[in-house]
């Protein structure tokens, strides 16, 4: 029972990463809750695919990405690998910077000074800690993000106005349709993150899940992801309540957490910063490992923490190499918020490429046997795939047309 709850709690905290922290606040400040529906759609979509990829693992005892090459061939899998690698690689840098930014807000020491420190701690932790321990700690700490939900209440909102904003899916008077649609795509990219799907399924392998864990896995997904979505909407809501009328745009992490301070004082702000720290630190680990897993699974290397690093040398080298590369990128003073926006938009662009193979493997009766996709999985999966394809095609034109959302 304890492990049950722990897994669900980790899923809630693990939903939020730097992409959410930036995009949700940005969207809330400019559009109110007019994009909350995107979060709802994204939660359903990613929950569907996370369940599918974990079910694949439960049945085959191998991670979803592993099977993509076996069943769909190396050429196709390589395209998926390159796409996901490029995006997740950028995200590692953004998450790492996010941790540093949270530390900067707590101490006013410049974030670039924190980046190497955080990288060193990450390196130490991935070397030393068992997989499950890492996941659990950061998932639990990430629960402190619930302070955003509490903050909504304390800001004494005009509830009818919140409701009306959420149920009017059109741009407000101050915004144009292209900008609105651009941020629909941005939110999709920020919330339907492929690395979550692969991490979830690779984690199932590391934890050696089998058919008897199916129910537990489903509860994790069906409870964890929607609650994570609730957190995302709370971030949008507090940004709406504090910034919208004043015409303040969110351009920094500081603005994401300011509403919590205004609502709950210094203690609230401190808890929010702890939540941000935990969410971004956890996401750094997840994105790092997810990328490492994908490369190792593609080439058939040994990977993960079930064996000592010396027996998974290529995997370990790739993960450490990627961490060093991301640290170097972060130190080039590229604005982490801008990188985050670009990373999530590109994430939206490759989304269909990562969903399609999972849908195909999920339907493969030879591999899945009794646990092959049912009608619900297939319907939701196909609809999500369709939505993500439209978003992927629209992403780059909208990015150019709105000049990165400025207009």
């Amino acid at each position: 029972m304890f492990a049950f709850t722990l897994g669900t709690l980790s899923a809630i905290g693990g939903f939020i990463d730097i992409g959410d922290l930036v995009a949700d606040a940005l969207v809330g400040a400019r559009f109110g809750l007019a994009l909350a529906w995107v979060t709802v759609v994204s939660v359903i979509g990613i929950a569907c695919y996370a369940e599918m990829s974990a079910r694949i693992t439960v049945q085959t005892r191998r991670p979803a990405f592993d099977l993509i090459r076996s069943r769909l061939g190396p050429g196709y899998a390589l395209v998926g690998l390159v796409g996901a690698f490029a995006v997740t690689g950028l995200l590692v840098m953004a998450e790492l910077s996010g941790v540093a930014l949270a530390l900067q807000l707590a101490t006013s020491v410049h974030y670039l000074l924190w980046v190497p420190v955080v990288a060193a701690v990450v390196l130490l932790l991935i070397w030393v800690l068992p997989f499950e321990t890492m996941e659990r700690i950061y998932g639990l700490l990430g629960l402190t993000m619930l302070v955003f939900v509490v903050a909504v209440w304390h800001l004494d909102p005009d509830w009818p106005r919140l409701w009306s904003s959420a149920t009017t899916p059109v741009p407000p008077a101050s915004e144009s349709w292209p900008a609105y649609l651009f941020f629909v795509v941005t939110l999709i990219g920020a919330q339907m993150t492929p690395y979550e799907m692969f991490f979830f399924s690779s984690g199932a392998v590391e934890s050696r899940w089998g058919p008897k864990d199916l129910t537990e896995m489903r509860v994790n997904v069906l409870v964890g992801f929607p609650l994570g979505g609730l957190l995302a909407i709370a971030i949008q809501a507090v940004a709406f309540l504090v910034f919208f009328d004043a015409g303040i745009q969110v351009e920094h992490l500081a603005e994401t957490v300011l509403p919590v301070g205004l609502a709950l004082g210094k203690l609230g702000l401190a808890i929010a910063l702890l939540g941000v720290f935990a969410a971004t630190f956890g996401a750094t680990l997840e994105t790092l490992f997810s990328t490492g897993y994908q490369i190792a699974q593609y080439f058939g290397w040994s990977y993960g923490k079930v064996q000592p690093p010396a027996q998974a040398a290529r995997f370990t080298t790739v993960v450490v190499g990627l961490l060093l590369l991301s640290t170097a990128l972060a130190m080039t003073t590229l604005d982490p918020i801008t990188v985050t926006i670009f990373a999530v938009v590109f994430s939206a662009t490759v989304l269909p490429l990562t969903f399609l193979p999972v849908l195909l493997v999920g339907n493969d009766r030879q591999v899945m046997g009794q646990l092959a996709n049912g009608r619900l999985s297939n319907t939701l999966g196909t609809v999500t795939l369709a939505i993500s394809t439209v978003a992927a095609l629209a992403a780059l034109p909208l990015l150019v047309l709105t000049r990165g959302g400025s207009s």
Binding site: S70, R71, G300
Partner: protein, 129 residues
């Protein structure tokens, strides 16, 4: 190995594990014997490694992959080979009869990194448990 099923699904691109269950690589290509007119080709070796995969994929990407891998190679000639008679069964994963330690030409990069980089660090464990 005289299989009448499509090797595309039963052999190629499958995960190779050694006798200890340790992942070694994938079946990136196959080497067949040409028996002459009337006979069936017999698979003599499994080829594993990015070089074999690159050669098989072809095109610009494939050539790049093969070239990079060839530079990192520790064996003198050609991509790593596993003799086909070392395969115990290939129903799901391709299980070998031997351990990785008994296949000096395979997974050279893994060995090299393990010996020269990873094992030097504290807490890295043993490469051959």
């Amino acid at each position: 190995m005289t299989d009448h099923h499509s090797v595309r699904f039963t052999l190629l691109d499958q995960q190779v594990v050694d006798a200890d269950g340790r992942r070694i690589g994938r079946v990136d290509d196959l080497l067949c014997d040409d028996p002459g007119p009337g006979g069936e080709p017999v698979i003599t070796h499994l080829l594993s490694g990015a070089e074999a995969l690159g050669d098989r994929l072809g095109g610009l990407t494939g050539k790049l992959m093969a070239a990079v891998s060839a530079r990192l190679r520790t064996t003198p000639d050609g991509p790593s080979r596993i003799p086909a008679d070392l395969v115990a069964d290939h129903a799901d994963l391709v299980h070998l009869r031997v351990r990785l330690a008994d296949l000096p030409d395979v997974a050279g990069l893994e060995r090299w990194l393990s010996a020269h980089v990873i094992s030097l660090l504290p807490g890295a464990g043993d490469a051959d448990q």
